[in-house]
Symmetry: C2
Subunit: 200 residues, 2 copies
């Protein structure tokens, strides 16, 4: 599921994109520059990727497929914790850090927002694969919105690694997975009828 | 708890910051420009806020305190759902949209990352207030990491509203809160001993 289609020389193309992003950032990146650096004909690049964001998205998809294998530990808890740790590590440096830097500049840019949405979609397929196996094991039998679960997993990772630059500590990663699996500890639902204390 | 200290003329200062952010963005904003537009002496501004990010952070704190009252519905579920909906709405337009635009450009900027961390801290105090009342009602008796819970709430809101520009639908907000309170539906923990299916 994580196979990446592309022309011959795809490795050189993606390496060139990452090199140029690391050197000058997303704004300065051009398809022409990637063609020069990779030695792949510009028309070939455009045949596969009609635009700069499409090319950059393909490079990040390629990096994610290569660096973020979907874990298969035999339990949902193990798989979710492994996903969380690997994604936290992914954003820390290398291609993941470059992706974070690009996606930390989406701002009002609709093209970058689509790129972010596409990469988030790839992350969601990883979560869906993990929950699918949990269902096959009978470990998960209720209705679960895989998209929501994926966002619950990646959201805190994102806030810490990308927005505040304070990556999620491993202990928090485990606590996060426990909360997603079992809910808040010792929570007793309560009827809204009971009067709430006034705010001071 | 949401009181905001500031000099006389604080309202005019924060309004000027928001106007200038809306007009020209964060990069173009200067303390001098805020002084000119608000009619407040530049030295007064610097006495209260030693830097541009400190001033912008104060403006966003002020907006959050004014536009995001901490809900008190009488139940933890009601409060978390109300927090989630109000924060989703906050990022949709007005000062919240401006804050999202600024924080969607943190990139490698350590100053902006600190600003983001400070505003995230304000959000976390809202969640802590809500869980504190739930404890006082006996609705929550187990150990809960309020910081983690806050990030679990805001993470998906952030990914949707700020990164991918696809705000969280209200139905997803309710499902998200249910997951946080009760965990994944019909999840049965399983021992890692059981062999996992090979990946195809």
């Amino acid at each position: 599921m994580s196979q990446v289609r592309g022309p011959r020389g795809a490795e050189a193309i993606h390496a060139a994109v990452l090199d140029l992003l690391a050197a000058d950032g997303y704004a300065a990146l051009t398809v022409e520059g990637v063609a020069r650096r990779s030695g792949v004909n510009k028309t070939t690049l455009y045949r596969w990727w009609p635009s700069k964001p499409a090319l950059v998205a393909a490079t990040f998809r390629h990096a994610i497929a290569r660096e973020l294998p979907v874990p298969d530990t035999g339990t949902l808890r193990g798989d979710l914790a492994a996903l969380l740790r690997s994604k936290t590590a992914f954003f820390a440096d290398g291609p993941g850090r470059l992706a974070a830097d690009v996606l930390a500049h989406t701002g009002a840019d609709a093209e970058l927002a689509r790129l972010a949405d596409e990469l988030l979609g790839q992350h969601r397929t990883h979560v869906a694969e993990v929950t699918g196996r949990a269902r096959a094991r009978g470990e998960l039998t209720g209705p679960v919105d895989d998209t929501l679960l994926a966002d619950l997993l990646l959201g805190p990772v994102w806030l810490r690694a990308v927005v505040t630059h304070r990556p999620l500590p491993p202990a928090d990663a485990d606590a996060l997975v426990d909360t997603l699996l079992a809910g808040l500890p010792a929570h007793r639902a309560q009827s809204p009828g009971r009067p709430a204390p006034r705010r001071s």
